[in-house]
Each structure stands twice: as structure tokens, then as C-alpha cells.
């Protein structure tokens, strides 16, 4: 790879280099990688270019398209009419849709909290007590994650149905008389979400707990800290970055999930993911569906920004 010495601001076509295909390509790579990375030109840009191109085509352009679509109008039979309109955003403010966003955020928050409680225990055990079996246990945590989520959802339906295994077992043991309705309620949706997103929580937590120098914990004990205060004063603060990363990784995909609610949910568990999916696949209102997607992304970005601010100030205290 020849050193890239082209001046960054020069327009593409006017440069003589543009006539040589290979150079023109590296020029384009440079432009793309600068667009994404925004750093000084260097060989690293060339290395980053394929990934940048991928991101540009697979993320940036579709997002721009969604943004553009959200400003259009629904035409007859759901054709997109390319006319500027803010009507879709006005429609979201309609009292009908606000509860859906609220419900989705509540479900995502509940799921994240449950994943954190469950996941912390798992990650802690893995990191401190698992010993030789650690690799195998990690694989076991990942295993459900590798199966198709639709297969997993159907397994849950078989387990939780009114004539399903769990109800039959409980009835067989004489614990209940009439079957409990698990499915098609918020319970089943949250259960499904926790099941799917638990690995997203466990893995960053585990990675973070692994990195805590064991010497610090021993030092705390040497200095007379009880196991409890060792945990609250040393381990927990040091694992804050892992907690934050795990919560983000769980909360964000969870807020847009629609498959779980589609299959395990009922008439009262309609989430924003379902709303978006429904606009594209059923109601044929791509413009409104895009607007809802943009709002969801915006809400999540605002949350993410808040997290970055928080991390910038509060977490530093806990860092080594």
C-alpha cells in the first residue's frame, strides 16, 4: 500500500489521481473512513475502509432513508408520496401512540433490571468460583443464544401453554386445580425478553469482573473488611462499567423487540417494535413507521448521551 498523501479537502474528480482507478479507490476509501472515523489520514484508514464502507451502506444510508421516509406522506394503498410533511410526527403525539412507547420503555427497563439481578449473580460466580468449569459454563450460557429465537419462543409456548408441560406438572402434583394462564400476558413477554437478553448482560459483566485485580480484594480483606463490605466497597464499584455496558446492551435491543411480544404476548402487550413492524408489513404506512422508528432511536440516543455524561462524571471515582 503506497503512503496516502492526497490532500484531504480536494474534490474527487478534479484530481489527476482520480483517473487511475486504484488511486481513486483508495481516495474513496480515505473519504469514507474519514467520514466514519474522522481522524488524520494514515494507513489505518485504509485498513478501516472496508468496515467503513459496510457501515455506510448498511447503517448510515438506510438510516438516512428512514429519516427521509418519515418526512413523506402515505399515498393510496400505502404508496409513498414524496411530499414533505411533518404529519407523521404530529401523529405520534396522538394520545393513542404515547402509551405504546411508554409500555415499551417500561418492559425494557424491567427486563434490564431482572437481567442485571440474575446476570450479576451468574457473572460473579463464573468469575470467582467457576474454576476449571468456566469455559463450559460460558458455552452453556451462550447456547440458547445460538439457537434460532423462533425455536426458543416455540419451546416456551410448549412449556407455558395452558395444556403445557408446566401446567400439567403443577396439576399432576396437585398444587393447582385449574391451569394458570402464563401466555399472552406481560409475564410471558418479560420472561421471554429476560431469557433472550441475559447473555447480553452476563458477558460484559463477566469481562469486567474478570479484570478486577484480585490483589485489591485480598487487600480489602487484609485490612479487615467483611465479605459484605469488600463487595460493596471494592467489587461492586469496580464492576460499574460492566453494569453500565450490560444495561445498555440489554436495554437498547429490548426496547425495539417485537418477536417476543408477537408470539408470547397478548392483546395488551403491544410494543413499539410491533407498532413499527405493523406499519411496514400490515398498515402499509411506511412513512409513519419510519417516524416511529426515528423517535425510538432519538429516545435511545438521548438516554445514551445521558449515560455518557454520567460515565464522564460519576464513574471515574470508581475507576482504578
Amino acid at each position: 500500500m503506497p503512503p496516502l498523501q492526497l490532500s484531504p479537502g480536494a474534490p474527487l474528480a478534479s484530481s489527476p489521481a482520480a483517473r487511475s482507478p486504484a488511486l481513486a479507490r483508495s481516495r474513496l476509501d480515505l473519504f469514507l473512513s474519514r467520514l466514519i472515523a474522522g481522524e488524520r489520514p494514515s494507513a489505518s484508514h485504509a485498513l478501516m475502509a472496508p468496515a467503513s464502507l459496510w457501515l455506510l451502506c448498511g447503517l448510515v444510508l438506510p438510516l438516512l432513508l428512514i429519516l427521509a421516509l418519515s418526512l413523506t406522506r402515505r399515498g393510496p394503498y400505502g404508496m409513498v408520496v414524496w411530499e414533505f410533511s411533518l404529519g407523521n410526527y404530529a401523529k405520534i403525539l396522538d394520545a393513542v401512540y404515547a402509551p405504546v412507547l411508554g409500555r415499551s420503555l417500561v418492559y425494557a427497563a424491567t427486563t434490564t433490571f431482572l437481567c442485571l439481578v440474575l446476570g450479576y449473580g451468574v457473572a460473579y460466580t463464573l468469575s470467582f468460583y467457576a474454576g476449571r468449569r468456566r469455559e463450559m459454563l460460558i458455552v452453556m450460557i451462550m447456547l440458547p443464544f445460538w439457537t434460532s429465537c423462533l425455536v426458543a419462543i416455540y419451546s416456551w409456548i410448549i412449556l407455558l401453554g395452558r395444556e403445557g408441560l408446566i401446567n400439567n406438572l403443577l396439576i399432576g402434583l396437585g398444587l393447582i386445580e385449574t391451569p394458570i394462564q402464563f401466555l399472552n400476558r406481560p409475564f410471558a413477554v418479560i420472561l421471554g425478553l429476560v431469557y433472550f437478553y441475559l447473555p447480553f448482560m452476563v458477558l460484559p459483566l463477566y469481562a469486567c469482573l474478570e479484570k478486577i485485580p484480585r490483589a485489591l480484594i485480598e487487600a480489602a480483606k487484609d485490612l479487615g473488611a467483611t465479605p459484605r463490605s469488600t463487595f460493596t466497597k471494592v467489587t461492586l464499584p469496580l464492576s460499574m462499567p460492566g453494569i453500565a455496558a450490560g444495561c445498555l446492551l440489554t436495554f437498547i435491543p429490548c426496547a425495539g423487540d417485537f418477536l417476543t411480544a408477537e408470539f408470547l404476548g397478548g392483546p395488551r402487550t403491544y410494543l413499539i417494535g410491533n407498532l413499527i413492524q405493523n406499519q411496514f408489513m400490515v398498515a402499509q404506512d411506511w412513512a409513519f413507521g419510519s417516524a416511529v422508528a426515528v423517535v425510538l432511536i432519538a429516545v435511545l440516543l438521548i438516554g445514551f448521551y445521558g449515560y455518557l455524561r454520567l460515565e464522564g462524571s460519576g464513574f471515574e471515582a470508581g475507576r482504578v
Binding site: R74, G75, P76, Y77, G78, M79, V96, Y97, P99, V100, S148, L150, V151, Y154, G161, R162, E163, Q181, N184, L259, G266, P267, R268, Y270, N274, L275, Q277, N278, F280, M281, V282, A283, Q284, D285
Partner: protein
């Protein structure tokens, strides 16, 4: 286990939503392959394998689980389907969007087997663009063992005694349609007040509803999980084949009848192979096999003669004139009504 195949199809249909590009790559450009897009669970087990063997043409078969899903894919310009199945009310819309090619009547020699009453439908006079495939009705599937007496009326789907045991089709034509029927409004209403009344009626039902579903209700009827389900005739009768307590009724207030048709997608290649498949599907033996298997009625006059006698004489499949008088086609909706209906249905699902 019977559920397996159905589940697989539903999973396949949903996976298709998520994996459009991947599937698109699978859809062959091979000149000897025909791509057929159909409702899930809507063909005989042996139908296509036998065609492949006889004709030496490979059929790439894909399924959808809702009319809207199919329309979304075609509208989005998903390429590569050659032949697909659409319900009557979709036809004017598909025609208006220029998605269909005319049917070459002279090439399809089995087209004459279509019964006269299906040759001149209001949605496509003279069958210029469609070839009737199967037809059926919308009604109530119920579990006779769980109910004191068989339901007669749509209102039984609003009965508090069946709380948590009721399901409705996840389909705005049947959902809003029945609600308009029960509130005494015209079935092609575009009066916001009437649609609001229909919406409120459906909202009132939500407390006792287990789910909106156009596919899983069949298994739930079989397992006894559901006692009452709004459903399509053939699907319910498939459930009845598995569980003898399941029965089907067309409510006294009236209901819907519909025809699903084979359509040729505009500008698709492989025309000769596609037409060969269509003609094969229209042949009396194959028509009868499909109908026997999926329990929907066939519009093929020759195929009817070859049906299992129990199916041919089943008034739930071929309603007697007195019942048929209560049935009507889904009204085609103009864009304005389409928008209003969609909004009402959306609100039913959300609120």
C-alpha cells in the same frame, strides 16, 4: 406431531420477514425453477413433489401468513416470484398497481374446469387476471365439549363466560368487517363515526380475548386451549380432523365468503413453466387432492366430483343456499376507506 409442520411454516414465513435479502438470493434464477408464493398451509403434501417429478420443473415454494405480508413484499419490489395466491379483495389493488399479467386463456386448457359461478366474479370479470384456486368462508371454530351449546351468533365471541378462551383473526377485513356487521353499518363504510363504533366494539372484546391470530388458533383449538375462535372454514376443519370436538359454524348474523386466486406476476420469466404448473394445479385430480388435504372448497367443477364424499357433502365446506344467502364478499376498499380501516384496526391493537 401435526403441529410441527404448521409451526415450521409459520417460522419460515416469519423468518422471511427478517431475512428477505438472504431468501432473495435463494430464489433461483434457474430457468427450470418456478417460484410459487402461497398462503401457508394451503397445498397438498404430494402436490408439488409430484409435479416436480412429472414435469421435471423445480418449484421453489414460499409461504406467507397474512395477505398484508404478501402485499408488502410485492409492493417493496421483491423480485423473483412467478406465481402467487391472492384473496379477491386484493385483486383491484394489485391490478391498479400493475402487478399482474393477464391470464392466457387459450394456453390453460384446464381453465374450462372452473365452475361457471366462479367465471365472472365482480373483482375480476371474465377472469382476465386471476385463476380461482380455493374458496372458503369466515366463521367460528369452537370446542363443543367445552361449551354448553354450540354458538349461533358472533356475539358469543363477546361472552364473558369464555374469558381467555377466545381468539380473533389477526386480519382487519374479518375483524373490522364483523364489527361493522354487528353495529349495523355498511361493510364498505368510510364513515369515521361508524368505524369508531366498530373499533369500540372490538375494544370491548379485548378483555376476554386470548389473542389475535390467523394461524396459531388452529393448534390452540386442537389442544383445547381455545374454546371459540374466529377462523376460516378450512383451517377450523383441519383442527376438527385432529380433535373431533372441534366444529365450525357460520353465525346467523352473516359472514364472509372469499375466493383465493392464482395470479401471474407481471413480467416474470419462465412463463411456459409457470403455466404448466397452473394447468397442473387446475387438473381435477390435483384440485381434489389439494381440497381434500386443506379442507377448503374448490371452484373446480371437475375436482368436486373427485373429493372424499364426506368433504363434498359437508355443509360447513359447501354451505347450503340458505346459509350462502347470508354470506358476502369483502367489499373492495378505496384508498380513503383503506386508510380509515387501517387506522381503526391499528387502534384496536394498541389501545
Amino acid at each position: 406431531m401435526r403441529a410441527t409442520r404448521r409451526d415450521f411454516l409459520r417460522i419460515a414465513a416469519l423468518a422471511a420477514v427478517g431475512g428477505l435479502p438472504a431468501l432473495e438470493a435463494c430464489r433461483g434464477r434457474d430457468p427450470n425453477t418456478v417460484n410459487f408464493f402461497n398462503w401457508f398451509n394451503y397445498i397438498g403434501k404430494e402436490t408439488l413433489p409430484r409435479f416436480e417429478k412429472e414435469a421435471g420443473i423445480k418449484v421453489n415454494y414460499e409461504v406467507y401468513s397474512s395477505e398484508e405480508e404478501m402485499f408488502s413484499k410485492l409492493k417493496a419490489g421483491v423480485r423473483g416470484y412467478d406465481l402467487f395466491v391472492a384473496t379477491d379483495y386484493m385483486i383491484p389493488r394489485l391490478k391498479a398497481m400493475r402487478l399482474l399479467d393477464p391470464v392466457p386463456h387459450d394456453i390453460l386448457k384446464n381453465l374450462r374446469r372452473i365452475a361457471p359461478r366462479f367465471r365472472d366474479p365482480s373483482y375480476d370479470p371474465g377472469l382476465l387476471y386471476t385463476i380461482p384456486y380455493l374458496w372458503g368462508t369466515t366463521g367460528i371454530g369452537y370446542n363443543a365439549r367445552k361449551l354448553a351449546k354450540p354458538p349461533q351468533s358472533w356475539w358469543s365471541l363477546w361472552d364473558e363466560r369464555y374469558k381467555g378462551r377466545v381468539s380473533m383473526l389477526d386480519n382487519l377485513r374479518d375483524g373490522i368487517g364483523v364489527a361493522l356487521l354487528l353495529t349495523g353499518s355498511p361493510l364498505d363504510s368510510k364513515d369515521p363515526a361508524q368505524l369508531e363504533k366498530a373499533r369500540d366494539l372490538l375494544l370491548k372484546q379485548r378483555g376476554i380475548l386470548k389473542q389475535y391470530s390467523s394461524s396459531t388458533f388452529v393448534d390452540d383449538l386442537v389442544s383445547g386451549e381455545l374454546w371459540l375462535a374466529q377462523g376460516w372454514s378450512g383451517d377450523v376443519l383441519q383442527a376438527a380432523r385432529e380433535n373431533t370436538h372441534v366444529d365450525y359454524v357460520i353465525p346467523k348474523e352473516g359472514s364472509f365468503i372469499w375466493v383465493d386466486s392464482l395470479c401471474l406476476i407481471r413480467g416474470a420469466g419462465r412463463r411456459a413453466e409457470v403455466l404448466r404448473l397452473v394447468d397442473y394445479l387446475l387438473s381435477p385430480e390435483v384440485g381434489a387432492e389439494i381440497s381434500n388435504s386443506v379442507r377448503y372448497a374448490t371452484p373446480n367443477a371437475e375436482a368436486i366430483k373427485r373429493l372424499e364424499p364426506t368433504l363434498r357433502n359437508d355443509p360447513r365446506v359447501y354451505p347450503p343456499p340458505a346459509v350462502e344467502a347470508r354470506l358476502q364478499f369483502y367489499a373492495p376498499l378505496d384508498p380513503e376507506a383503506d386508510e380509515l380501516w387501517n387506522r381503526a384496526w391499528q387502534e384496536v391493537k394498541i389501545l
